[in-house]
């Protein structure tokens, strides 16, 4: 009964969420179009349309996010993993519920895009920068739709785990021991972990802020106007604090959850350290940004930092490791 309710909720999420993300895609095309037109012609009415598109997209992202929250609540309410009596020596609890974070699997890129959209609305001082960011957001929304649509196949890994559990339990398969152990570990140290609820969102909010830093650095190089440097620095400061805290609070979690695994100098950790030291270098170099050509070096550094951020994000998908979804 509980499993069928979960399946119904999953289907319903697809039904209500798919139109939302489709509208996001369509409006993002308009957003990209008006951004490019404004960058070419500099007419205020195009900018006004662009801002309206950005507001609509942000509202739609938030609406979709509310749908995702509802779905996660449904998973919590409907899926109860009750460990059989004969597994009691293996599993220290009678049952578990999934408290699934809102930034895993296909939802993480969606969350990042939503926060980025909100942040772009806070950049009001430079129309050309907002337009450039409009192009970036438009591409971002297209990537989310085609590569990381959270409504198309909601939480495929979680779904697979839940489905496998119920089917193995009902068939009396001997693999239930192994599955119960794995699922208990996944729920305790991954889904329901406090760190999973704090570590990734801080990083994604930081990433969203650092998109604006990178865009402002590009404009700093093109326009040579110190106001872009000031915008880049403002968002870099906020992003850096969240990046630092987000990365650091992942450490006690790693020590606890991966105590029997080889995770030291894992590629994602190496990538994160690389990204962090580069942003530290950017903020350090910025102290003397007003001296000689330092503004130029700082702006280039801001762009290199963002390239390292993208590289670190993609490492999950391209290099094997404990953080990765690819295996050798």
């Amino acid at each position: 009964m509980a499993f069928s309710e979960y399946l119904a909720a999953r289907d319903f999420l697809s039904i209500i969420g798919q139109p939302v993300i489709t509208y996001i895609l369509l409006v993002s095309f308009l957003q990209g179009f008006f951004s490019i037109i404004y960058l070419l012609k500099h007419k205020d009415n195009y900018y006004s349309y662009l801002v309206k598109c950005t507001y609509i997209i942000t509202y739609l992202y938030v609406l979709g996010f509310l749908f995702l929250i509802w779905f996660h609540l449904q998973i919590y309410n409907t899926v109860l993993i009750e460990y059989p009596e004969f597994l009691r020596q293996l599993i220290p609890v009678e049952s578990s519920r999934f408290i699934i974070p809102l930034w895993i699997e296909s939802e993480k890129l969606y969350f990042w895009a939503m926060v980025a959209s909100v942040f772009v609305l806070t950049v009001q001082r430079r129309k050309d920068l907002v337009s450039f960011l409009g192009v970036v957001l438009s591409i971002f929304s297209t990537i989310v739709y085609f590569l990381s649509n959270p409504f198309k196949e909601p939480l495929p890994i979680v779904h697979n785990e839940i489905t496998m559990w119920y089917s193995t339990l009902s068939s009396g398969d001997g693999r239930i021991f192994e599955m119960a152990g794995n699922l208990f570990g996944r729920i305790t140290f991954y889904y329901d972990s406090t760190y999973m609820w704090t570590h990734p969102p801080m990083l994604f909010i930081a990433y969203a802020s650092l998109i604006i830093t990178a865009a402002a650095c590009v404009y700093m190089l093109v326009k040579r106007d110190p106001v872009y440097d000031e915008i880049a620095y403002r968002y870099a400061k906020a992003g850096y604090i969240l990046l630092t805290f987000g990365m650091l609070i992942g450490y006690p979690w790693a020590v606890e959850a991966w105590k029997d695994s080889a995770w030291w100098w894992d590629p994602k950790i190496s990538g994160s350290i690389m990204m962090w030291v580069l942003y530290t270098a950017y903020l350090h170099a910025h102290i003397y940004a007003g001296r000689g050509k330092m503004w130029k070096a700082t702006a280039y550094l801001g762009i290199i930092c963002f390239a390292s951020l993208l590289f670190t994000y993609l490492l999950t998908y391209i290099v094997p490791g404990i953080h990765s979804v690819v295996q050798p």
Partner: protein, 200 residues
């Protein structure tokens, strides 16, 4: 004063370059890990320990340089420039000797222990608003933030290098983390912190 400014500018450039070099060490680590991972069982072979040791040995010299260039081990906020350079050279010399005698971890541990002590002294003097300590930037909150940030970084590195097996490892980690975050907030938003403290 201009001479001191140039000196600080040089240190900033050096710090930036060292940070960049640490980034390159990480890129090497990613590429080498990927190469080794062609064998899915490689982490259960001696290659894994060798990889970890190699990465640590590549990182540690840059960490020593970083700590020196950041002005963490050299107490630039306490001493005159000529004494400061002598102190830096002495600290670096002892670190190198210890490294040759007992390994890089002992050398790094030595320099980190000195830095922790120095940063604690700087923190106490800053809180007491002592005129002995010199700063780049004006304002009590910024100065406090800078000291907290530097002390936090030293504690975190010290903890990772020396206390990984210590029962207080995680407690020390949280102390360092809180200092770094508080330091960041104080350094980046001194105006807001000031207005918040005035509200009370």
């Amino acid at each position: 004063m201009k001479y001191l400014k140039n000196y600080d500018y040089g240190l900033i450039i050096l710090t930036t370059l060292v940070l960049f070099a640490i980034g390159l060490v990480c890129v090497y680590g990613i590429a080498y890990y990927n190469y080794l991972a062609a064998n899915p069982q490689w982490q259960y072979t001696p290659l894994y320990i060798q990889y970890i040791n190699n990465m640590n040995s590549f990182l540690y010299p840059f960490l020593v340089l970083l700590l020196i260039s950041l002005g963490l081990c050299i107490p630039k906020r306490l001493l005159e420039q000529d004494i400061l350079i002598k102190f830096g050279v002495l600290a670096l010399g002892v670190t190198i000797i210890l490294t040759f005698l007992s390994g890089i971890e002992t050398g790094l541990g030595f320099i980190l222990a000195i830095m922790t002590g120095v940063q604690c002294i700087v923190l106490i003097l800053t809180i007491k608003k002592s005129k002995t300590v010199r700063f780049e930037k004006e304002g009590y909150i910024v100065r406090l933030g800078s000291v907290l940030l530097h002390l936090g970084v030293v504690i975190l590195i010290f903890n990772f290098v020396t206390f990984r097996e210590n029962p207080f490892h995680i407690s020390i980690f949280w102390t360092g983390t809180l200092l770094v975050i508080a330091g960041n907030i104080f350094s980046f938003y001194p105006g807001r912190i000031n207005s918040l403290s005035q509200l009370k």
